[in-house]
Symmetry: C2
Subunit: 220 residues, 2 copies
């Protein structure tokens, strides 16, 4: 088999560095011990009809392997996880638990976090006018984080008593809170995130993304 190809951005501004969704795919491939090629794109390719045929929303990542082209970070991580026990146990009931928590990361925890992110990225006047809304959204996130922490309790991982693709996605979702103090208010969750970030596969994936941005940083 040829090495799969991961499409990622050549460069993004600092606020997005270390958060772009190809990090999820790089991490999954590192956990699986699978080498990959980078395919780097910029704003022009993002808008091109050629790229839209691979990724209808012009986003990254896209994964191309010998068999097919896949988009959506969640779908790509699931695809990789289905091919290796490094990310998901082969037992069907345990695999279902892992997939449940993958969806929980992306459809229960991430949406309110992205909502806060969108508010904080607005021009200052618009963000300021929405400060009461922001407080309510932060409250919604707090409720979800506390529920998540209550579930985790003394567990080290979300499912199957081991690191899985569910922890991978949840960790990348919790990282989006890095410009807020919300995670610091739930220390057990902060520790959970740090524990997963300490994995060598995460460190390699993050370094690969950051190195790319450094190599392509705009000239001063």
């Amino acid at each position: 088999m040829h090495q799969p190809q991961v499409t990622a951005f050549r460069w993004v501004p600092a606020f997005a560095q270390g958060l772009v969704r190809d990090l999820r795919v790089r991490w999954a491939l590192e956990e699986a011990g699978q080498g990959y090629q980078e395919h780097l794109i910029g704003p022009a390719q993002q808008q091109s009809s050629d790229y839209r045929q691979q990724q209808p929303f012009g986003q990254v990542p896209v994964l191309k392997d010998d068999e097919q082209t896949i988009f959506e970070s969640g779908a790509i991580v699931l695809h990789i996880a289905e091919q290796t026990t490094a990310l998901m146990p082969s037992d069907p009931a345990l695999a279902t638990q892992v997939k449940t928590w993958m969806f929980a990361a992306l459809n229960t925890i991430e949406p309110p976090i992205m909502m806060l992110n969108v508010i904080d990225m607005q021009p200052p006047a618009i963000a300021q006018a929405a400060h009461e809304l922001r407080a309510n959204v932060a409250g919604m996130i707090g409720v979800r984080l506390n529920s998540l922490a209550a579930f985790l309790g003394n567990r080290e991982y979300l499912a199957a008593d081991r690191f899985t693709s569910a922890d991978l996605l949840m960790t990348t979702v919790l990282r989006i809170l890095r410009t807020t103090d919300l995670l610091a208010t739930v220390p057990s969750l902060d520790a959970y995130k740090s524990r997963n970030e300490a994995r060598p596969a995460f460190q390699k994936a993050l370094a690969a993304q950051m190195d790319t941005f450094e190599r392509h940083a705009p000239q001063q």
Copy 2:
């Protein structure tokens, strides 16, 4: 096999009726020709530690079958789809396309739509103060809807040239826009949604949810 059990709310206010996420599971089971039992809960059960052990966030739906208890509507629909060709082709490459669009529905299209929904559900003074933010979020949704419509083109379905669990999820996501005029601005997408809603399995699922709410409506 015993009939699976679907946990749903006994009653919700009108604005949420026809949108609560157990609709996705009811619809999937109807498409699969699988009968089910309802397990109805109210706010007290939602908060109970017993229920939190099944659903850590206190949400619905939960699916219980002979083998296990699953939460997250996306994970439940995937679990059902993996057991029947009614919702997902058995060909692995086509199944991957279906799963890709399932994640696109829940992680690319739904989050900005839910953001608008959260803004519109705020107390009037807070929503009014956030009207510029709302316009920007509506713009983000418009961009995504147009990308989705461009992908669909003359296609009837998202993946595999047939109705799948991807169309099921996407349709339930687009329905959340019913109190806005955003979908009306993309007629092909509005038609796509209506086409899927016309399926007998959807109609049965919607009727089952609405009947439950009618039976348990608070006394005037």
